[in-house]
Structure formats: structure tokens, C-alpha cells
């Protein structure tokens, strides 16, 4: 009888359906509770595991909350100066064309201080993957305004809300790089629900496979929450993201290769 079955009967190696990938180290993540960085890290490592590419992958960590990504991802990694990850990735990929090379960057890192490195790596069509975690804010330094902060959105350096007239417009860098001939695959994803996570993982996998096929640059934006910076609980932050971020940063593919 099903009702008699106990958890003990179910929790057995042969019944395992899901566990954290071994390519994440056992170190507890340094991220705030509910922060999307953790999920994004996991997806990248799951893809590397599925491709059996641990020995063929080099990752570049940014400056930002994910500066310590190398503590959590069990692959060879380099930690770049703020915004410069695509430059490091460019050289590594050109020197090791058969390796998978990816950058993992926040929105301040990629779309403010690193704009030039981002655009030119994209424009050259470097055969790499860029994972871009957009949480609309500078998380690490305490919630300052980012290039991606929404109009009217509060941050510690736009305490009355981002006033576009004086502070400028939020930058849709993903749409911008999609214009460049060097980008092969550009998509915007999220990781706040199971369905979103599954889609995001597919996109990341496609991006890595594109490297194998020498297709050029794949750019994966992940719209994520910074619940600490936004001063909300994680679930509130995810809801706020759905209500406010997604209308501006629409999810879905922006540039899909013609097959």
C-alpha cells in the first residue's frame, strides 16, 4: 500500500531524481538568501557537467557579488578586474580555441565599467559565452544605481528614484549587442521559477554548444533579483521583478541563429 511507504523507502540512491551537481564545490555560497546568482552558478555548472567539459572549461569571474564564483565552481577560473572579463576570455579562447570559455558578469561590471570590453568582444564575434546577471543594481557595493536601474527605481545613489532627465536612461545592453554582427545567439532569461530555470538552462547549454560549433558569441542575460539591494524578501523581490523588470527587460530570445 502506497500509504505505508515511508520517506526512508524513498530516500535511496536508486530513487534519486535531482541533486546538486558535483561541479559546485561544497562551500556555502556567499550570496544573500534567495539571490539568483546561486541558481545561475548551478545552471552553468550543470551544463559543463552534461558536456563532460570540466577539463575543457575556463571561467572568468567578475568584480561584483559573484567575484568569488571561483570558490563555488569546481573548474579552472580567473578573476578579472572590474568589467574586463571579456578581454581575458578573448585571449584565453584565442590561445585555446578548443576550450569552452565563459564570463560571468553583473550589470555594473558588464554594462557600465566594462561596456567597451563587452561590445568589442561581441563585435569581434569571439567564440565565447557571456553570462550576464542583470539585477538592476550594484549589489556588492551596497545597492547603488546601475546602468540597468529602472526609471523611478530607488537605489542608494538614486534615493528618490532614478530620474532619467539627470541620471540617464537604463541601458538595454542585450538589445544593443544583438545588433552586432559578431553575436550569434542573444537571449534574455530568468531563474525565479522552475519553468524559467529549465528554459535558462537550455539557453546556457545552447550557448556552450555554439562554442563547440565555432559559431561566435552567445550572450545570455539572466534577469535576477537583488533582494538585499531592493530591500525586499526574496519572494517579494521575485514578484517585483515580474511586475517591474520583465515589462522593461522582456524575457525571450532576442537573436536566434537561422538554422
Amino acid at each position: 500500500m502506497a500509504e505505508n511507504i515511508t520517506n526512508k523507502d524513498i530516500v535511496k540512491e536508486e530513487n534519486l531524481v535531482y541533486k546538486k551537481t558535483d561541479l559546485l564545490t561544497d562551500k556555502a555560497l556567499s550570496y544573500c538568501p534567495g539571490c539568483g546568482h546561486g541558481t545561475a552558478h548551478r545552471l552553468v555548472m550543470e551544463v559543463v557537467e552534461e558536456l563532460e567539459a570540466q577539463d575543457k572549461t575556463v571561467g572568468i569571474a567578475p568584480v561584483g557579488c559573484s567575484v568569488l564564483a571561483y570558490e563555488f565552481m569546481d573548474i579552472d577560473m580567473q578573476q578579472a578586474a572590474h568589467g574586463r572579463a571579456p578581454a581575458l576570455a578573448t585571449a584565453i579562447k584565442r590561445l585555446y580555441p578548443e576550450k569552452y570559455v565563459f564570463t560571468y558578469q553583473g550589470d555594473g561590471d558588464l554594462a557600465a565599467i566594462g561596456t567597451a570590453e563587452t561590445i568589442h568582444a561581441c563585435n569581434r564575434g569571439e567564440n565565447i559565452t557571456i553570462i550576464f546577471v542583470n539585477n538592476g543594481i550594484y549589489g556588492m557595493t551596497g545597492g547603488q544605481m546601475a546602468p540597468t536601474t529602472l526609471p523611478g527605481m530607488r537605489s542608494s545613489t538614486s534615493p528618490y528614484g532614478r530620474e532619467v532627465a539627470s541620471m540617464g536612461n537604463p541601458l538595454k545592453i542585450t538589445e544593443l549587442v544583438a545588433q552586432l554582427p559578431g553575436t550569434y545567439y542573444v537571449t534574455r532569461q530568468a531563474v525565479h521559477t522552475p519553468a524559467a530555470v529549465r528554459k535558462a538552462k537550455k539557453a546556457i547549454k545552447k550557448a556552450f554548444e555554439n562554442q563547440k560549433l565555432n559559431k561566435g558569441l552567445s550572450f545570455i542575460e539572466i534577469v535576477s533579483n537583488c533582494n538585499s539591494g531592493w530591500k525586499m524578501t526574496p519572494n517579494q523581490a521575485n514578484q517585483w521583478m515580474v511586475d517591474n523588470m520583465f515589462p522593461f527587460y522582456e524575457l525571450g530570445d532576442i537573436k536566434v541563429p537561422e538554422e
Binding site: 500500500m1 502506497a2 500509504e3 511507504i5 520517506n7 523507502d9 524513498i10 530516500v11 535511496k12 530513487n15 534519486l16 531524481v17 535531482y18 541533486k19 546538486k20 551537481t21 559546485l24 556555502a28 555560497l29 550570496y31 544573500c32 538568501p33 534567495g34 539571490c35 539568483g36 546568482h37 546561486g38 541558481t39 548551478r42 531563474v191 525565479h192 521559477t193 522552475p194 530555470v197 529549465r198 524578501t233 526574496p234 519572494n235 521575485n238
Partner: protein, 76 residues
């Protein structure tokens, strides 16, 4: 008729009590415990274990990857 029964194991000490797994569960299995773990977080647990179908939704949204999921076919 074959039915599926699931179960999850939460790595209590690594759970940050963020509650993201709670709305992700289609069958309302998970709640946060009254008690706290070593870091002071109310950790996730199966408040309604019988309802678990082993879909892994909770595990794949858990930012800290602390949920392991099992499932077994059982005959009615």
C-alpha cells in the same frame, strides 16, 4: 495503478530559509521550520510529505542547491 511518491532531503545547515522553494512546489509540501539552523535561518522542511511527487521544482529553484529529490513508483 502506478503512482509516484517523492521525498526531499534538505541540507539543513546550508539552507538559508529564503522561502523560494515554497511557492515553487505544486503540492504545497514545503514550509519553513519554527526552529532555526546553526546560522539562525528557519530552514525548509516537508510539512506535508505525503503530497510530494518528486517533481524537483523546489530543488531547481533553490539558489543554494540544498535540496536533493527522490522519487519512487508505488503500486496502489
Amino acid at each position: 495503478m502506478a503512482k509516484v511518491k517523492g521525498s526531499i532531503v534538505v541540507d539543513i545547515e546550508k539552507c538559508k530559509g529564503c522561502e523560494v522553494c515554497v511557492p515553487a512546489c505544486p503540492t504545497d509540501v514545503i514550509q519553513l521550520a519554527e526552529e532555526v539552523n546553526g546560522k539562525g535561518y528557519h530552514y525548509a522542511y516537508m510539512a506535508n510529505p505525503d503530497a510530494c511527487i518528486g517533481c524537483a521544482n523546489c530543488a531547481i529553484v533553490c539558489p543554494d542547491g540544498v535540496i536533493t529529490v527522490y522519487k519512487k513508483k508505488v503500486d496502489k
